[in-house]
Amino acid sequence: MFVDEQVQNKQMVFSEATFEKISRIVTELNKRLKAHACIFADMNGYIVNYSGDQPEFDVHSFTAVAAGSFSTAKEMALMVSGKKHFEHVFFEGTDRHVYMCSVGDDYLMIIVFGQQTPVGFVRLLTHHAVEKLAGYLESLRRSTRQVQTFIDADFRRKLDHELDRAFGLS
């Protein structure tokens, strides 16, 4: 069981207490924006926290693609201005829009919202939430506590069994 935070090779593992704090920020943001979804993810496209409607789309796949898109924008920023990344990226749709901004160097906030929410309002509130999160992540980054892991021989044996079943190899 994971019990503490770990910061190693830029990868963080959050304790449940930390996760709850992040969760509160993301949920509050979503509530105030009346958004369809607020997703706090890492730059690799893994969801750290999600708040929103029962999704009509595959949130995991969406986040992986969104992170890829944000990384692409980052490279574009480097090419045109030499800057590390654009502050935010906005995709305007007919009825739903997507707003993304970085949280520090390693994380990303993604907001999916509708016509009733002005993009300026999204920018403003997201900016405040991101500031809180960034400060919090920075304090974690200084942490050196270790975690225990649950991936042991027993876990692997059971997973092998599950994979055989799912893949039809058994």
Partner: protein, 204 residues
């Protein structure tokens, strides 16, 4: 590896690398067709007008929960064409394990080697290398008359003595076995006290 606390999930990233037209996308397409929709997402592909991978292909697979945690595996391919190097670099970030899909044909050996060298260079950008990352080689297109013998392929490509599997991805031969083995390697690299073992024989 990533832990999703909210949903009690463990997520791994696995990347299929290799030269263009080597069969990376075909691997994912077969996995998508083979698995029950309840344990996989839709296959997402970014393709050019001539059906070549532009950015990456993506599919997520999952199993039932184990000890209260549900494992998920994000599978990505990279674009094989030389001009999409930056896309390959981005997709490699944070990979837990890699599959190098080599084209077995004699005429593709230079492309295989160039892709391996490119992989080493891209890994170096993240402070990693082919010695430190768990990976395996899939020798694809074993059914073609121009395919080189296995001992010759091993000699020319498997410098690090990593695990390998022979495959004919268009027929699904070796595809699921490759996936199972690379997942095994990814898990080993995250185990408590066990380091990844060097495996020199492919799974039968």
């Amino acid at each position: 590896m990533h832990i999703d606390w909210k949903n009690q999930e463990i997520i791994f990233k696995i990347v299929y690398y290799g030269p263009g037209l080597g069969g990376k996308t075909t691997n994912l397409e077969y996995i998508h067709s083979r698995l029950d929709p309840s344990c996989r997402s839709e296959l997402i592909s970014f393709k050019t007008s001539v059906e070549r991978t532009l950015y990456f292909d993506f599919i997520q697979i999952e199993t039932r929960a184990i000890n209260g945690k549900r494992p998920r595996f994000n599978l990505y391919t990279v674009p094989g064409q030389a001009q999409y190097g930056f896309g390959r670099k981005l997709v490699l970030n944070g990979a837990d394990a890699l599959v190098f899909v080599a084209d077995s044909q004699e005429g593709r050996m230079d492309d295989n080697l160039a892709s391996l060298q490119d992989l080493e260079e891209k890994l170096a950008l993240y402070g990693r290398s082919l010695r430190s990352v768990p990976w395996l080689i899939q020798y694809n297109k074993r059914d073609l008359p121009s395919a080189l013998s296995l001992p010759l392929l091993q000699k020319r490509l498997n410098f690090f003595n990593v695990p390998y599997i022979e495959a004919v991805a268009v027929q699904g031969i070796g595809v699921m076995e490759t996936l199972r083995l690379v997942i095994h390697l990814a898990l080993q690299s995250h185990s408590v006290s066990e380091r990844p073992e060097r495996m020199t024989q492919a799974r039968e």
